[in-house]
C-alpha cells in the first residue's frame, strides 16, 4: 500500500511538471500550428537561468524567478521573430526541422556555458518528510504538485477570461477572422511563444529541484509528445489529464514492472492512441485523415 501511494505521489509530481511543459507546447501548437521540438530545451534554458541567478550570483529566489521570466519572455519572442516567422507557410517537414535545429542550438549553447556535468543547487522547495497513508513522501514533491496546479489554474483562467487569452483562442480558431476583428496576429504569435517559454521555465525549475540541474532536463521535452497526443493536441484540460496519466503510468510501471520499460511505455501509449483515437481524449476531431 505504502509503495502504491509513494509511486502515485511521485507520478503526480512528474505528471504535473509534464503538464506544465506540455501546456507550453499546446499553446504554441494552438496559436501557430507549429510542433515545437525545442520545448525540452526551453525547460533547460529556464532551469539554467535560474541556476545562474540563484547559485552563481547568489540572488534571492524571487529575483532569480523574475530574471528567469524576463529571459524566457525574451527567448520566446526572439525565437518567434527570427526563426519561426520566416517559416510561415512552409511545409510541416520544414517547420518541424527548424525547431529540431533550434533545440540542437539551444542545447549546445547551454552545454558551452555550463558543460555536461551535474550542477549542485541547494533545494529551493523545503522537503520535510510527510507521511500519507503509511507512506513517507518528500515534501518537495507535494509542493511541486501544488505549484504546478496553481500555475495551470492561473493559465486556464487566463485563457477563459482575460482579453489576451481570448484573443489567443480566436487566432487559434481562425486567423483571418481574428485579423478582421482587429486582433494583432503577430502579437498573439509572440505572446504564445513567450508564455510557452515561461511555463517551461517553471517546469524547468521544479524539475531541476526534484531531480538535478543537468542536461537531462532537455530529454523531458520528448515526453511531451505522448502527453499531448493522449490529451488532444489542442486541448488545455487534455494536457493536464494527459500529463498526470503519463506521469502516474510511468511511475507505476517503473515501480512494479521494470524501470527500463517505463522509459518506453509513454510511446507505446502514444502509438495505441494514434491508432484508436488520434485526436486524443479532448482534442478537436479535425485531424487530417487519409
Amino acid at each position: 500500500m505504502s509503495t502504491a501511494v509513494n509511486l502515485l505521489i511521485f507520478g503526480l509530481a512528474d505528471g504535473a511538471i509534464l503538464a506544465l511543459a506540455a501546456l507550453g507546447f499546446v499553446l504554441i501548437y494552438k496559436a501557430t500550428a507549429v510542433i515545437n521540438f525545442a520545448q525540452g530545451e526551453f525547460l533547460l534554458v529556464g532551469a539554467y537561468t535560474f541556476y545562474t541567478c540563484f547559485v552563481i550570483f547568489q540572488l534571492p529566489i524571487t529575483v532569480g524567478i523574475l530574471v528567469g521570466v524576463v529571459v524566457a519572455v525574451l527567448l520566446g519572442i526572439v525565437v518567434e521573430r527570427l526563426i519561426l516567422r520566416p517559416m510561415i507557410g512552409q511545409s510541416h517537414i520544414s517547420i518541424i526541422m527548424v525547431t529540431i535545429g533550434l533545440s540542437g542550438l539551444l542545447n549546445a549553447i547551454v552545454q558551452m556555458f555550463f558543460g555536461t556535468g551535474v550542477r549542485a543547487q541547494p533545494a529551493v522547495l523545503p522537503s520535510p518528510p510527510v507521511s500519507i497513508l503509511g507512506a513517507t513522501i518528500p515534501g518537495n514533491r507535494l509542493l511541486a504538485i501544488l505549484i504546478a496546479a496553481i500555475v495551470l489554474t492561473v493559465l486556464t483562467i487566463f485563457f477563459q477570461k482575460s482579453k489576451h487569452g481570448i484573443a489567443m483562442r480566436s487566432v487559434a480558431d481562425d486567423e483571418q477572422a481574428a485579423m478582421t476583428v482587429g486582433i494583432s496576429v503577430r502579437r498573439v504569435y509572440a505572446m504564445s511563444w513567450a508564455l510557452a517559454a515561461v511555463s517551461a521555465l517553471i517546469a524547468g525549475i521544479l524539475l531541476a529541484d526534484i531531480t538535478a540541474v543537468d542536461l537531462h532536463i532537455a530529454s523531458f521535452g520528448l515526453m511531451v509528445f505522448p502527453v499531448v497526443i493522449l490529451g488532444g493536441l489542442d486541448s488545455v484540460p487534455g494536457t493536464i489529464i494527459g500529463g498526470l496519466t503519463i506521469g502516474i503510468v510511468t511511475q507505476l510501471v517503473s515501480g512494479y514492472l521494470d524501470p527500463g520499460l517505463a522509459e518506453v511505455i509513454p510511446y507505446i501509449i502514444l502509438v495505441l492512441i494514434l491508432l484508436i483515437r488520434p485526436y486524443g481524449i479532448f482534442g478537436e476531431k479535425r485531424i487530417e485523415r487519409v
Partner: protein, 353 residues
Amino acid sequence: MAATQTGLHHRSYASELRIWTSRAQWIRLGLLTVLLLALPWVLDNYWLSIVNTALIAVVGAIGLNILVGYTGQISLGQGGFLAVGAYTSVILADRAGLPVPLSIASAVIVTAVVGTFFGLPGLRLKGLYLAIATLASQQIILFIVRRWGWLTEGRGFVDVSRLEFLGFRIQRETFEQQWYWILLIIAILAVLVAVNLFRSGLGRSFMAVRDQDIAAAAIGVNVARAKLTAFAVSSGFVGLAGALTAHYTEVISWERFTLDVSILYLAMIIVGGLGSVAGSVYGAVFITFLPVVVRGFAEFAGGFAPFLQAQLPAFQNAVFGLVIIVFLIIEPRGLNHIWTRIKDYFGYWPFRY
C-alpha cells in the same frame, strides 16, 4: 520541390525521361569519375575513412529522401531502421554463417518489411501526426535493441568479424582503400536505382501522392499501396546503409542508432534538397564533413580562442543546429537548388534568365 532547370524545354516524353540532357553534364561526369578514381591514391587513411562514412550516408540519405522528399511522409524513425539493418546482417553473417552479400541482402529485405509495418500509421495519419508516430517507432525499436539481450549476447555491443566473401578478405593495411571501392560501387548503384525509380510509374506515383494525395487517387494511383511501397523501398535503402555501417565499423551498439541519427539524416536531405537524388548526395557529404571542418576550424582558431577547442562537441552541435536553421530560412530547397542556380547563371550569361 522538384525544381527543373530554366531554359530546358522538352518536346517529347522521351526527352523528358532522359537523364543526360547536355554536353556539360558529360564533362562534369568525366571530371567526377577522375576525382573518384583519384581519391584513394591522394587521401590518407583518416580522410578516406571520412569519405567512406559519407558514402554510407549517401545510401541512407537517398533512402530517407525517397520517403520524405519524394513521397512527403515525414519519418523520424531512420535510426531505428538503420539498427534493424545492422543487427540483422551481423547476426545472419556472424552467427548463422551466411555469406556477407546474402546477409546484407536479407537485411535489406527485413528492414523493408519492418519499415512497411511502421509505415502502417501513415495510411491513417498525415503530417505532424505521422512525425510523432514515427518518433514513437524510433523510441520503441531502440528500446527493443537495448533490452533484447539475445541480440548482443548480453554484452550491450556486438563485435563484427572482418568482411570476407568468396575468398576475398579485407586486408588490414589497405582497409580503407578496399572499403572505398566497395562502398563507392554500392553508392553509385544506389544513386542509379533511385534516379531510375523516379523515371518509372512507381516513382511518379510517389510524387503524385506527395503533391496532392486526393488528386493522385483521382487519376488512379493506389495511394495506400504507393505509401507502403515508399516505406518499403526507403527502408530497404536505409537497411542497406545500416548493414554497411555494421560491417565497415566492425562494432555496433545501440548508441549508434538514437534519435540524433534520425535527425542527422533529416538534416542531410534538408540541406541537400528535399525530393532530389543529387541533393541527397550533396547533403550526405556536407553533413558528414561538417563536424570535421568545424574541428579543423576550432584547432586553427585555438590560438586566440581556446574556448572553442575546449568546448568542441558543443561547438559542433551549435554549428549543426545553426546550419539547419539557416538553410531552412534562406535556402529551403537546399544545396541542389544553389547548384542549379549557379549553372543557370553561367548557362544564360550575359542574360539574367
